[in-house]
């Protein structure tokens, strides 16, 4: 299962609820306002960093650039739309809206 999140963690409980439910090894993709969770500062950075021990975390390049989010948590993989499509091809999707 691929988990996609599109809300800022400061606005919505999507990130925290997803992190409670996610199974080991399942990828998490941050898109739209959720890319703020990939930034290496702020109150969610530590939790996201810790989650990478069990889950690969991706963030969408265009959404990061559009928001000027450039200092990322170590280990977050930045992907473009092509990479997004590849992930969707490989997994069922659970969208945390």
């Amino acid at each position: 299962m691929l988990h996609t999140i599109n809300k800022s963690p400061f606005q919505s409980d999507s990130l925290s609820t997803c992190l409670r439910c996610v199974q080991g090894g399942e990828p998490i993709l941050l898109i739209e306002d959720a890319v703020y969770a990939a930034a290496n500062r702020g109150k969610f950075a530590e939790q996201v960093q810790g989650q990478m021990a069990s889950n690969p975390i991706y963030a969408l390049s265009g959404d990061l650039k559009a928001r000027g989010v450039s200092s990322l948590i170590d280990g977050v993989t930045v992907i473009d739309y092509e990479g997004f499509v590849e992930l969707v091809e490989q997994h069922q999707v659970n969208s945390w809206l």
């Binding site: 299962m1 409980d13 999507s14 609820t17 409670r20 439910c21 996610v22 199974q23 399942e26 069922q92 999707v93 659970n94 969208s95 945390w96 809206l97």
Partner: protein, 123 residues
Amino acid sequence: MEEENVKKIMHIVRRAPHGTIYTYEGLEMVLIMASYDQDVSMTFLGDGLYSLVKDQDTSEIEIKGFMKTLGVLEDYDVEKIYVDKESMEERGLTSEDFFIPVEVFTSAELGKMMAEQDVIVPQ
């Protein structure tokens, strides 16, 4: 219906009941899918739990509410109603607060069931 045509479909309800139309529209979809004999379940997470609370009276806000719709899910063979234990505890809710029977699972258990679905429908 042949077994291979039956898909496991989980609807995830995460929003409080009357502030948006998500849960109203989502319930319509649940009933439609159930009428096609699919393996439909509903998982209530976060503020979605408030949809299940007893004694909702929407008459003064002049919308129909969906207590009746949730009440007939059983007649449509939608019997897999799952609730997140952590969300209950955060909100001080117990199973006694709900007007339909639910099964309570931890987030990790729910995540495992999500991983087994063919389709997840977020509401």
